[in-house]
């Protein structure tokens, strides 16, 4: 109710405000001008607990990055040798 009461203070249309107070309408508030709402927060959680699937996925990412770097190093060496 508190956010609705605050919203009434911003009404420009007095007739609409009267309808709301009489319970005859639906309030439409832009997200930028609405009261803040509680969100899911990670601030006090610490590192994520990974499932088996997630560990496999992150290991795959690490392996993929290592493979790309090795391929890149091989390419650089091969190009350097070819230029000699």
């Amino acid at each position: 109710m508190t956010s609705q009461t605050e919203t009434l203070d911003t009404f420009m249309d007095l007739e609409s405000a009267h309808d709301h107070r009489a319970g005859k309408g639906y309030v439409v508030i832009h997200p930028l001008y609405d009261a803040p709402e509680a969100k899911c927060s990670a601030d006090h959680l610490g590192p994520i607990k990974l499932s088996l699937g997630s560990r496999i996925a992150l290991t795959a990412v690490r392996g993929y990055l290592v493979a790309i770097m090795l391929m890149g190093a091989y390419r650089v060496v091969a190009m350097a040798i070819a230029r000699r």
């Binding site: 009404f11 609409s16 439409v28 803040p36 994520i48 607990k49 990974l50």
Partner: protein, 448 residues
């Protein structure tokens, strides 16, 4: 499940005023009108993130695909539509549930190493992409005789001005307008003279080009996938949703916004491909979009030539503002700076300075004589394709984080099945791309 905390961190300077005609608080008589107005208020981030992905690189890729293979790759666009939507829908849910950006979430849940890795590769790919956007602006204006020393700085100044207004809504409305201008690609595609039956058949039924599957065909497919789904989109939309302060009750409206954006971007991409396909149909050579505009002019009229060039500029402008903002938001989130388009420059100096530096640095590189722009353009497409799988893996893991999101917001089993399938395919495609670039001797020469 995480303790719910009140995010009343309304950054200084935000006044809970009534808004203007389109955004003011009102009471309506019916619930369906409430839903429509709420949707119109929520609409924006989904369309922008999707359509901004039809940037200069996308114009180049899609027109090239049309010019080389006609309509034979239209089916791939239809296949990518649900992929785009599913990836961005996860971003919507995560953004609304946490009210924070993607970079901040990776730092908080995966630790500093992965956080720095994600931030570093986002900034690197984004910066190189910005250079390609300004290169396209240079190319388009040069085709009509405007010096790059005039067009590029003016474009950079315009991009900075549209952000430094201290109003999220003003930036959003201007950007939505620019997105809607891309409808002109559909008109250009229609001008190509293909029948609706031919377009529909090639879109709904996969078919191969005359010479069968070649390595060039495979790599163009990979390029199209990499163009349609980009890492910066994950960071941009989540930060945009957090900046717009979308609420839990806005989830369905935001999903619809994202779906509309996905459909719109794929339709526009189809228009680009059809424009390029005109060259294929008439056996005309293709080099780049500006050259294509020069060839379309004599056949379809000077208006078409000008339209292609101006749409190239529009695509580059859209890409630049979205990509620069994704960099600025991500950097500011991690540094703990105030970061909102609702704030004036003095209230968020770090955030805006990051944006301005990104824009002007990229513009400056394009103006360097004999800068290796073509190498950068090719390199950034490869780099973005290589980086994409790791970005999506973090997103998928975060959407299964029950400790953070609770049962209500995590992926359902069918979400996970679809998303892991998408991730596996993207890994495979990125692996092929990496091998082709880094170990070209493994691949046979392209067939004729």
């Amino acid at each position: 499940m995480a303790t719910i905390t009140d995010t009343a961190k309304a950054a200084p300077g935000i006044q809970p005023a009534g808004g203007d005609f389109l955004s003011r608080t009102r009471v309506v008589k019916s619930q369906w009108m409430q839903r429509i107005l709420t949707f119109l208020m929520v609409f924006g981030p989904g369309l922008i993130v999707m359509e901004a992905d039809n940037d200069a690189g996308a114009v180049s890729t899609y027109t090239q695909a049309g010019a080389q293979y006609g309509l034979k790759l239209m089916w791939l666009l239809l296949l990518l539509l649900p992929v785009c939507y599913f990836c961005q829908e996860m971003v919507v849910r995560l953004g609304i549930a946490t009210g924070e950006g993607h970079a901040a979430m990776i730092y908080k849940r995966f630790g500093k190493w992965w956080g720095r890795f994600s931030l570093f590769d986002l900034q690197l790919v984004n910066f190189l992409t910005l250079v390609t956007e300004f290169a396209a602006i240079n190319l388009a204006f040069s085709a009509i005789g405007v010096s790059p020393y005039v067009s590029v700085p003016l474009a950079a100044a315009g991009l900075v001005t549209m952000v430094l207004t201290g109003s999220y809504l003003r930036w959003e409305r201007v950007t939505i307008f620019l997105c809607l201008l891309d409808c002109c690609w559909v008109w250009l595609g229609i001008k190509g003279g293909f029948s609706a039956h031919e377009v529909a058949r090639n879109t709904l039924l996969p078919s191969l080009p005359a010479g069968g599957i070649s390595m060039d065909y495979v790599f163009l497919m990979i390029a199209i996938v990499g163009t349609t789904i980009a890492p910066w989109q994950l960071f941009f939309q989540q930060s945009c949703i957090a900046d717009k302060k979308l609420r839990f009750k806005d989830l369905n409206a935001s999903r619809l916004d994202t779906l509309i954006g996905s459909v719109f971007t794929i339709v526009v991409a189809g228009g680009m491909m059809l424009a390029g396909a005109y060259l294929f149909k008439h056996h005309l050579p293709y080099a780049d979009p500006a050259q294509m505009a020069g060839l379309l002019g004599p056949s379809l009229g000077p208006v078409v030539k000008s339209a292609v060039l101006m749409l190239m500029v529009n695509a580059a402008i859209l890409g630049t503002t979205a990509i620069s903002l994704s960099s600025a938001w991500a950097w500011a989130e991690v540094k703990g700076w105030d970061h909102s388009l609702q704030l004036k420059f003095k209230e968020a100096p770090g955030f805006y300075t990051t944006y301005v530096l990104a824009v002007f640095s990229a513009a400056a590189i394009v103006l360097i004589p004999r800068a290796p722009l073509q190498l950068i353009i090719i390199g950034v497409q490869v780099l973005a394709g290589l980086v994409l799988p790791s970005a999506i893996v973090f997103l998928q893991i975060l959407l299964n984080d029950k400790e953070l999101l609770g049962e209500q917001w995590v992926n359902k089993p069918w979400n996970n099945l679809v998303n892991w399938t998408i991730i596996a395919v993207l890994f495979a495609l990125s692996g092929i791309l990496a091998a082709q670039v880094l170990l070209p001797s493994l691949f046979p020469a392209a067939s004729a």
